[in-house]
């Protein structure tokens, strides 16, 4: 009898496992359920620090803002880097300096209140009020007297180049001609913010108010905030008051803050995400080789470079810097180490900025010339060159690239470089205090114009951190801001970039690409050099 009892238990156990297996494997994945509900599930890196567009400065926030807010000009549905009507229905410019925007007559905040030119005035005043401490306040500096107001040189905001001509007409006056303004104002630092919602919960310059909480938040984008569970999910739903609500195809988007790229990839294959923000670098070659239908690789307006501390010997010598720049085999780095479709940088400004811009192709691999320059600088065959370090922030990818460059400099120039890694905060501080020799540095363009890459190298610019400066360079940049003729302006910038690359206070290494995974049912989420997303054009077609 005992064996019968045991057999019975055994059969029951096997049966329940089989039943459990059947039930669990036949439940719909989150993606299947979301497809039916018309909700996009998007991986979004780390938890957003804030939903106030005037306090944010990170990529996770950037991705969310395109759903919640809309600037005067919006990303075009068929080409996110192009210009389409946003909060403004139309716009004209006088000499690229005085811009007049006609706002959407039907434009409303998500609570139904109309959007007027005064909302933009309020937003720009808030952004430029020093007490708010907005990270991106300097994005508004092309506006006449914006910098002066922000730094306290003028106290009267009415002197700043922004005016309300009538409730539906906004006029922005710039310091000089800027043909790239439409691209620039698609950045969230130029977005309107709702005065009535902000001041319901505090003062204009309060950094801690609760106006961005789900119940309180008021926005003007195609979607509005539905829920925000910290570190878990942020959900947006259709905004019925959006002026172009009929075009919006999705019913909502859920942004998932997944900080680990390995976890994000796992979640994607587990059917929890339609699209990832990024993917493990080490897996990219395998996806490329297998021609996976999920794998996407888009160019980005972003450059990876090494900068030199020109206040330290021997890096104060342009010959040394040029020699170092010429001894880096960029082609080999992108082909053998990065292997994710990046392009070797021949100049600083990545391709695609403006078709008319002539990028000076100066950066190349020429070890013979590099050796000659180094000898001319007083270090024949690398003799007597002091040991130095390449400073990186802790990351496997930065380390392997630094080690490759280290080997190239050793092989071609016979000079001793070490690799020094520091934690993020320390790494930033070292560069700010000029306590480094060579440091890795990345720069992401904010708008489609070479000036987004070139202005930071002016003498004493807060982002320069190399100690390098050139009178002629500063002059050219300054002239470019005054030049009304578009072709001549680009010519001036190209000339400036040539000086910069010849003097080589920084050595561009490669131009980034954005590698991510996306399911085939997602339509209309198009590549963008600036990572702009036109969410109203996105739909799910399983």
């Amino acid at each position: 009898m005992r064996w019968l009892f045991r057999a019975l238990i055994f059969i029951l156990l096997c049966g329940s496992i089989a039943w459990f297996h059947h039930v669990r494997t036949h439940r719909p994945t989150r993606v299947e359920a979301a497809n039916r509900a018309g909700i996009l599930l998007a991986g979004n890196g780390s938890e957003p620090a804030t939903l106030d567009p005037q306090l944010a400065s990170g990529q996770p926030e950037h991705m969310i803002f395109h759903s919640l807010f809309e600037g005067l000009i919006a990303p075009a549905p068929n080409h996110p880097d192009g210009d389409a009507p946003g909060a403004a229905a139309s716009w004209t410019s006088d000499n690229f300096t005085v811009w007049t925007f006609k706002l959407q007559p039907e434009g409303k905040w998500s609570d139904g209140k109309p959007i007027t030119a005064a909302d933009f005035l309020y937003a720009y005043q808030r952004m430029l009020t020093a007490q708010l401490g907005a990270d991106y306040a300097s994005m508004l500096y092309p506006m006449l007297n914006a910098e002066e107001y922000h730094t306290g040189k003028i106290k009267d905001f009415s002197k700043v180049g922004v005016k309300e001509l009538d409730p539906l007409t906004l006029q922005i006056t710039l310091k000089g001609p800027a043909p790239y303004l439409p691209s620039m104002i698609k950045h969230y630092s130029w977005f309107p913010v709702p005065k009535h919602a902000i001041e319901k919960f505090g003062k204009m310059t309060d950094r801690n108010t609760r106006w961005t909480r789900p119940a309180n938040m008021v926005c003007n984008g195609p979607f509005k905030l539905k829920s925000w569970q910290v570190n878990q999910a942020l959900e947006v739903e259709r905004n019925p008051h959006y002026w172009d609500a009929a075009t919006v195809k999705l019913n909502g988007i859920i942004f998932l803050p997944i900080s680990s790229d390995t976890t994000e990839e796992l979640a994607f294959h587990d059917g929890q995400l339609h699209v990832t923000l990024t993917m493990p670098l080490s897996k990219i070659p395998a996806y490329r080789e297998s021609k996976s239908p999920y794998y996407h690789n888009d160019p980005l307006l972003s450059v990876y470079m090494y900068r030199c501390n020109t206040t330290k010997k021997p890096f104060d010598n342009p010959l040394v810097r040029r020699a170092l720049a010429l001894a880096i085999d960029r082609e080999s780095i992108t082909r053998n180490i990065l292997r994710a479709g990046q392009q070797p940088a021949t100049g600083l400004t990545p391709p695609g900025c403006t078709p008319a811009y002539h990028v000076p192709n100066i950066m190349r691999f020429d070890p013979t010339e590099a050796r000659r320059l180094l000898a001319e600088a007083g270090f024949p065959d690398g003799k007597g060159f002091p040991p130095f370090d390449i400073l990186i922030n802790t990351s496997e990818a930065h380390r392997s690239l630094a080690e490759a460059v280290q080997a190239m400099w050793k092989e071609h120039l016979h000079i001793p470089a070490g690799v020094l890694n520091q934690d993020w905060g320390v790494y930033l501080e070292s560069q700010r205090r000029f306590d480094y020799q060579i440091a890795r540095f990345g720069w992401v363009g904010d708008y489609l114009d070479p000036s987004t890459f070139l202005t930071i190298w002016q003498t004493g610019d807060g982002n320069n951190n190399t100690g390098w400066g050139s009178k002629r360079y500063d002059e050219l940049i300054h002239q470019s801001f005054q030049e009304a003729d578009a072709a001549k302006r680009l010519q001036l910038l190209s000339e400036a970039e040539t000086i910069l690359l010849n003097e080589a206070p920084m050595m561009p290494i490669y131009w980034y690409t954005h590698s991510y995974l996306m399911r085939p049912e997602v339509k209309g989420l198009l590549p963008s050099l600036l990572d702009h997303r036109c969410y109203k054009a996105v739909e799910l077609k399983p």
Partner: protein, 306 residues
Amino acid sequence: MIRFIVSRIVQGIIVIFAVITITFALSKMVPGGAVRNERNITEEARKAQEEYYGLNKPWIVQLGLQFKHYATLDLPESYHYKGRGVDEIIASGFPVSAAVGGAALLIALAIGVPLGAYAALRPNTFEDRSSTLAATLGICTPSMVLGPLIALLFGLKLRWFNASGWFDASDWVLPALTLGVIYSAYIARLTRGSLRETLAQEFIRTARAKGASEGAVVFLHAMKLACLPVLNYLGPAAAGLLTGSFIVETVFQLPGLGQFFIAAATNGDHQLTIAISTFYAALIVTFNLLVDILQAALNPRIRLQA
């Protein structure tokens, strides 16, 4: 007993304020400061932010303010997550960490104690060696290896559970299993060692001589004493489990406290670092006190003295 508890509570409060002081001092020594961006921000913005968070005040005033915050339980705001109080962040992360940690603790005990006892009762046999081997393997396997393996097997291959996320009612299973397996290994080793030692003691021989059954000897007499080291270990282990494991929370994408703790360090969010450290310290103090009281209840030879 009451005097003991009161004096331990007072000691605990001193410990907590010492932790606040030390983490505050460390945060002041960290290079980089609280305002850290790759892009340079204007001097005006930097000044405004430092002023807003009181970072421009003398450090002794800042420390005084910290004490005031914690003494009055009016906790400060996070530097990074703008407009969120650190208490709000702890309140959102702790329940998740505690749910997973609590389940992991039960799994650890459910696997560890029987495994250890089984090995102790059959010393130097095949069963003993294989369970010791399993325990050693468990101790040696880091959660960053075991977690993805479990996610791959039960998530992606068998599709029994979601590989990550915190949405379904069953999402606690895989992370709790990962943590539980690792902790059970420690518990099994502790139980085995301590039970073997206890079984060799004279009062066990007396119990056997009185004719008590083997079951009664092991479970009524020996286990009571043998579980003391396990209990000792469980105090800090429980505090650690309940406040979350960064690695397991990252692998399984749980919105727990562990992820916030590490993010706070990398973001330079010192307010949050101090808050979570203090919370962790408070939990350890509480659990140690509970363990002391439980031990006294289990072992009449221990007398609590203030």
